[in-house]
């Protein structure tokens, strides 16, 4: 499973440790943001752009607003998400 590589392989010394802590916090923050958006049906835009550029470099990817509206419409569209009781 692809996990983000640790910020520094050998955290020696105070400055490096600080870096590791900061990077961990940044990563947690990013994960929390991703989780919160996915909870309301919005996948990560950056991941989509990276994917679109890697696989279809000839087509321009959807912009942020179009991506957002597409997922908003899908969440409540035909065959859209069931919400539990």
């Amino acid at each position: 499973m692809p996990r983000p590589a640790p910020a520094s392989p050998e955290p020696a010394g105070g400055a490096d440790l600080l870096c590791v802590c900061r990077d961990t916090l940044v990563r947690w923050g990013k994960d929390a943001r991703r989780t919160a958006s996915l909870m309301v049906g919005q996948p990560d835009y950056e991941v989509y752009v990276a994917h679109a550029e890697a696989t279809h470099p000839e087509q321009p990817p959807l912009d942020r607003t179009a991506f957002f509206r597409l997922h908003e419409a899908r969440r409540f569209g035909a065959g859209g998400a069931f919400r539990c009781c």
Binding site: P4, R34, A36, T55, A81
Partner: protein, 695 residues
């Protein structure tokens, strides 16, 4: 070394869990601390997750980390996206956690805390989490196909159609019963009604904001929304006290029911960005926040459980719902122990986002354990209340009368003592005129939560705020389920009607949209309205129907799981899904037949109809009917409920027949016959390198 460490850690957890369970089960007389229940639950979950989930993954399902998931195979960055497991866990949990695990345990508390705690734990570990995990596994192996689709391909077209109609019936009952919970919470409560009504303009403002001002800024707009909601809760207190606005927001149950139908119709035909989507943000984040707050509150306050371990009402004579412990406890607590609805979510978006098969235990099994813990917390919130308050709040007017004096006298007969003045004082503390006869779970949970949270922040002065905060959070996410569910039902009805009238299938057609939505709203609206005017509170007849429907769907999912294990030639492990399926079949069939044929008029729909029919023939009018017309309506309702129950029984029995046939057929063939995506192109090293690079 690793093995020894595991043995030591889980040995300690097992001992701690056994002590906690012994305290819960054997304690007599004095009240126990709710922390024991929390400890017992967490120990059970830890052991189940470490050992049983791993057994299911390795032996029963044979998960293969090298087999590409739909997200990897079809990665398009839009629908199929390999998602980090923590992120996906949050998504899946938010989708399965709803009002069900909060309401069911509160109702079941009338039998004492012990039966509820045991069923929530055992049910989740052996049935609910197994179902969620199995469905996620099956759907992942089939490109993320839906439950109905999988029933069709693995069991045949006829069971496929039956399952589809069954899902529609369940949706209607769920929408009706959830709407009823909200009506029961808001009736005659100006404060609650104002705050919930205020969410509509707040959501519309948020919708316009994300559409035109700052498109897509969900986080920002949600923070603004939550601040506005808190202002609405504070403002609600002033509105309720106002001589003009107070009465204007004091609405009767029937008015609220009609308002909800009108609202449900409008909310699901207007563009989703205007109302539905922004309300979804508020309700999702508030729901997660409130669940976390409740967990923290219980740990800080460490309240004592006041309800006896077991009450005399296990014999079926309880005022909250009728029917004996078996089978009705297992029907009343549906979500939290096992919920068929989760099968629809585990075969929805989650399998399309799963990065690797080896994450199925965490997402499928683990998220259900969290949901079960939510149910445990709801049960704690209900049982830390004085039992006299609990029964005064949850018994129908027909049993305890309509004032504090008659209610206090009625609960005293059951052995719980409280003075009328104390009941009135509690109502004042939470900012309501009266807290009597508010069955439906939400108000009881709200008083329990207010009791716990005011112990953390604000003390007695903040009790009214916390009560209305809890009411708002429940009402908000129930209403979001009702609007979104109405839309889902509308598409299902359009699909079904499209068979006869192809034009109905056009989802963009305004006529088709309005016709199908109106049909959906009138279906659940009918059950909602009859529930509201029911003198026994409505929850009494509707909640068991909902429970039967939900557990029946779980049985269908587990039957499908068993069929698939047989077809994979893994039948020696099929007990893992077959045993819970059989248990659910025993419960739902017994409960279904009792609801139909039980001679007690409080339980059996037909007996109730007969009683009114006999009275009508004799020329009598029985309360609550005031005219012969009312009598006719009551009789018709009974027949509608009977027909629905019979429909559920038919669905589940046919699924059993088709399931057994499919298993027997698979046994005779000596090679696997499942319809899975072939594992042919397992991940090559190159793919894996690509995958890492992409991440």
């Amino acid at each position: 070394m690793g093995k020894l460490k595991t043995t030591l850690i889980f040995g300690a957890i097992a001992i701690l869990g056994a002590i906690a369970l012994a305290v819960i089960a054997l304690h007599q007389g004095e009240s126990i601390s709710a922390v024991w229940i929390v400890v017992a639950a967490l120990c059970v979950y830890a052991i189940a997750y470490r050992f049983y989930a791993r057994y299911l993954a390795g032996k029963v399902m044979g998960l293969n980390a090298k087999r590409p998931t739909p997200a990897v195979r079809h990665n398009d960055g839009l629908d199929y996206v390999p998602t980090p497991r923590n992120v996906l866990f949050g998504h899946h949990f938010a989708a399965i956690a709803g009002a069900g695990p909060l309401v069911g345990p509160v109702l079941a508390a009338q039998m004492g805390y012990l039966p509820g705690v045991l069923w929530i734990l055992v049910g989740a570990v052996l049935a609910g989490a197994v179902q969620d995990m199995m469905v996620l596994f099956m759907s992942t192996r089939r490109d993320g196909r839906s439950l109905g689709d999988m029933v069709r391909t693995e069991m045949g077209p006829i069971p496929g159609i039956i399952a589809q109609v069954g899902v529609l019936m369940i949706m209607v009952i769920i929408l009706a019963v959830l709407a009823l919970v909200v009506v029961k919470a808001l009736a005659e409560s100006p404060w609650g009604t104002f705050t919930v009504a205020a969410t509509i303009p707040i959501a519309i403002f948020m919708g316009l904001y994300t559409r035109y001002l700052r498109p897509g800024r969900v986080g920002e707009v949600s923070v603004i929304g939550v601040v506005l909601l808190i202002l609405a809760i504070i403002g609600g207190g002033h509105i309720a006290a106002d001589p003009f606005w107070g009465p204007a927001f004091t609405l009767s149950g029937t008015t609220l029911a009609l308002a909800m139908m009108a609202y449900g119709f409008i909310a699901s035909v207007i563009p989703v960005w205007l109302l539905l989507a922004p309300r979804d943000y508020l309700s999702t984040f508030l729901k997660i926040g409130a669940i976390v707050a409740l967990a923290v509150g219980i740990l800080i306050v460490r309240p004592h459980v006041q309800m006896p371990a077991i009450t005399p009402f296990i014999d079926g004579t309880g005022p909250v719902f009728s029917g004996a412990l078996f089978p009705f406890l297992f029907i009343t607590i549906a979500c939290g122990a096992v919920s068929g609805f989760h099968a629809l979510i585990s075969s929805g978006t989650t399998p399309k986002l799963l990065e690797n098969e080896n994450q199925i235990p965490l997402i499928g099994y683990g998220a259900m354990l969290c949901e079960s813990f939510v149910a445990i917390m709801a049960l704690i919130a209900a049982t830390v209340l004085d039992p006299a308050v609990y029964f005064a709040m949850n018994s129908p007017v027909a049993v305890i009368g309509d004032n504090a004096a008659s209610a206090a006298a009625a609960v005293a007969q059951w052995g719980f003592h409280i003075t009328p003045a104390e009941l009135e004082q509690l109502a004042r503390d939470v900012g309501e005129h009266s807290i009597l006869s508010r069955a439906g779970g939400a108000p009881t949970l709200a008083v329990g939560m207010a009791h716990i949270l005011s112990g953390v922040i604000g003390g007695k002065a903040m009790m009214a705020f916390w009560y209305h905060f809890a009411i708002l959070f429940e009402a908000l996410f129930i209403l979001t389920t009702v609007d979104a569910g109405t839309r889902v039902c509308r598409f299902m009805i359009q699909d079904l009607l499209g068979v006869a009238v192809p034009k109905m299938r056009e989802t963009k057609s305004w006529t088709a949209n309005v016709v199908a939505t109106a049909l959906t709203v009138s279906l659940w609206g009918y059950f909602l309205y009859t529930g509201v005017v029911d003198p026994l509170g409505g929850i009494n007849s509707l909640w068991p129907l909902f429970g039967i429907a939900n557990q029946m769907l779980a049985a269908v999912a587990l039957i499908l799981g068993t069929v698939v294990l047989f077809k994979m030639k893994r039948e020696r492990f099929a007990w893992a899904t077959a045993v819970p399926a059989v248990w659910l079949l025993i419960c739902t069939l017994t409960a279904g037949f009792q609801k139909l044929l039980h001679p007690d008029v409080k339980i059996g729909f037909l007996a109730h109809a007969r009683k009114y029919q006999d009275a009508l023939t004799a020329g009598d009018i029985l309360a609550p009917a005031k005219t012969a017309g009312d009598m006719h309506r009551i009789i018709i309702n009974d027949y509608v409920n009977s027909a629905l129950t019979a429909g559920f029984l038919f669905v589940v029995l046919t699924m059993v027949v088709y399931g057994v046939r499919a298993c027997l057929k698979a046994r005779k063939i000596n090679h696997p016959t499942v319809v899975e995506q072939p594992a042919a192109h397992e991940l090559t090293l190159e793919d894996e390198a690509m995958d890492t690079a992409r991440a």
